[in-house]
Symmetry: C2
Subunit: 380 residues, 2 copies
């Protein structure tokens, strides 16, 4: 095997597949990157027990030549130092060749690296995914869906199923839900072109979605999503991203969402985020980061926090409107800021049903079916 | 006490004095920032057992008003959250006032922080330094002197005196030396205006110099340096930086520097840094980060490194000239890169006296009296 390749696309591909490579792999060869060259393209693969990433570098695309010379072949290269080696090479072109003893020779200018390679025979076979059950999204939309829900997954392994995002496709509607049982994030979008495809119990590990979000560029290109019983494949032109699914049944979350409200606050998101952020400066000194919110009349929110050692902070914030009962409520400041940022609209509507009941937040406009729920903290 | 002050200069001052504040202070009140206001200015002080920093905010300077209102007074404020609080305030102006119970009230827009303050009576008295033994440098020059020597101080407490930079002023020449006994950095400059001032055993803790370098802006303004038996004071218009000196006698280092050479290499610094940097990628896999250098003929350097697990790297580098005996030598790559960066000139001259003797590096030009010494590693 021998390729003469541009450094930049090679570097980008390596960085993508590195996201699947664990520093403590379950089998030793998975600490390496698999490299396969055929006449048209070079494919890099990285894998761990949860995800597998394949990145394809086409020889030429849109008139840009990525690979100047290919002698087909394959090898597994130790991943640990590879990104640094490629990044620091002196020239823009890299010659990578493999001899019969699986020694990898990387040449660029006057620099020459000889790395120990391994036979790809040793590399585990990747599952071939039946891609009948597929649907498409725009990449930028998928990234937004991940951003709006994935932060709310549980970081504790007490209930493993909650460390994933629940995906449901029913009646031409795709719904994502994440909850750590203290807060919940939900997002729906209407789909066309699903060909009657439905599924209900797909739970994707939160970590997989984080890595996928990092790899994908914010473009309007399509991404194909294929689902089986225990795996999900995301596929773009040059990328395969395969993740295992979580075992078990995701809890029924719709009944957690209150369908009435006693106090409704309509407020500018940015102002509210900044006020809570300041109040939480002192709240962080306690372990649980609690701030208190009190309605004052028709349009003032008072936000306070207290740390016995440091002091007291008080913010008053003018809202667009406060309707319904007076309210005093306490909650985790970080949950609130996360949720407001996920909603991302200028104005937000908050629906409370009393100091001890979960409250929900939604965009002021009706057209974005996003909902964030937070369980308050008992302080009164 | 009450001040109405611009947020930006207050923020900058707080960040400066924070560099002296330890998270585990020897006496509790030193976890706070001392704030003193008189009619002309506000002075902030932070201190730990090694350094004390005072930062002065003048009421008005060069037509720019920093403080709009001053009622004189003083207070010590818990430093832990102060930078974040001031940074996140909603308005550009900050009102800071202290009541009779030493409660500090910080107001800006609709945000109000009430912090627990302490009486400045509790704050330790700072030593007043006799400033007869003073000399001046330009700030940018002082920063360069620190950068060219301070990296070579020892990080181990085995010989505490080596954790500092040795300062000597004799015959109108200022000399800085740092060594960890494996490498040595030395820099001399000629002084005028020293008024016959001499000293020989001033050893400044490396950490103090790092902090000082961070605080000082790269300007041509003068800085006054005053030395006593156990302290050194750096003083600019708005900053006092007081550091303790290290106890003990600094070793005589001049005899370590070889005064002859058997092989002289003249080479482009940047090329050499990049080659060694690449070679060291594999060397880092060993604990000691060793690369090997071999001269080849009149102008080629071969730089190699080897890691049994990962592989082998070889660089060839064209030099300007190699004179004298052939040479094979091994050294710590990080030491070499540090030294070349400290020299900072385009071309560098390296003088070797055999594979087992320390070698020295100097700028190709004669006018910068900087010298870097590295002890090789035995590998042959």
């Amino acid at each position: 095997m021998k390729i003469l390749i541009e450094r930049e696309p090679l570097m980008a591909s390596i960085q993508n597949v590195m996201k699947a490579i664990s520093s403590k792999p379950t089998i030793p060869i998975l600490s390496g990157i698999k490299l396969e060259a055929n006449q048209q393209e070079v494919t890099l693969t990285g894998s761990n027990s949860d995800i597998t990433i394949e990145s394809i570098i086409p020889s030429e695309e849109d008139g840009v030549v990525n690979i100047h010379e290919i002698v087909p072949g394959s090898v597994v290269i130790q991943a640990k130092f590879l990104p640094e080696i490629i990044r620091k090479l002196p020239e823009n072109q890299v010659e990578l060749s493999v001899d019969d003893d699986m020694n990898v020779l990387i040449k660029s200018g006057h620099a020459e690296f000889k790395l120990n390679g391994q036979d790809t025979e040793e590399y585990p076979q990747l599952p071939v995914l039946q891609t009948d059950n597929s649907f498409h999204l725009q990449i930028d939309l998928l990234k937004m869906l991940i951003r709006q829900t994935n932060f709310a997954v549980s970081v504790s392994e007490t209930r493993p199923i909650l460390t994933g995002v629940h995906l449901k496709l029913e009646n031409e509607q795709l719904e994502l839900v994440a909850t750590d049982s203290h807060r919940l994030a939900s997002r729906k979008i209407n789909m066309t072109d699903t060909d009657g495809l439905t599924f209900n119990n797909v739970v994707i590990p939160g970590k997989s979605l984080s890595e996928l979000n990092k790899i994908l560029d914010d473009t309007q290109e399509p991404i194909q999503i294929s689902v089986t019983d225990n795996q999900i494949l995301f596929r773009t032109k040059h990328l395969y991203f395969l993740s295992r699914l979580l075992d078990g049944n995701y809890p029924e979350t719709s009944r957690l969402i209150p369908n009435q409200s006693k106090t409704v606050v309509n407020v500018n998101s940015k102002d509210l985020i900044e006020s809570i952020d300041r109040a939480s400066l002192l709240a962080k000194d306690n372990r649980n980061n609690i701030v208190k919110l009190v309605t004052q009349g028709q349009n003032i929110l008072q936000i306070t926090s207290h740390s016995p050692e440091i002091g007291y902070v008080e913010e008053t914030l003018e809202t667009n409107a406060i309707e319904g009962e007076e309210l005093k409520i306490s909650f985790n400041a970080k949950y609130m800021i996360d949720a407001l940022k996920a909603i991302g609209t200028d104005q937000v509507s908050i629906n409370f049903t009393g100091a001890m009941r979960p409250f929900i937040m939604q965009p002021d406009e009706d057209d974005e079916p996003i909902l964030q729920l937070i369980t308050p903290v008992r302080t009164y």
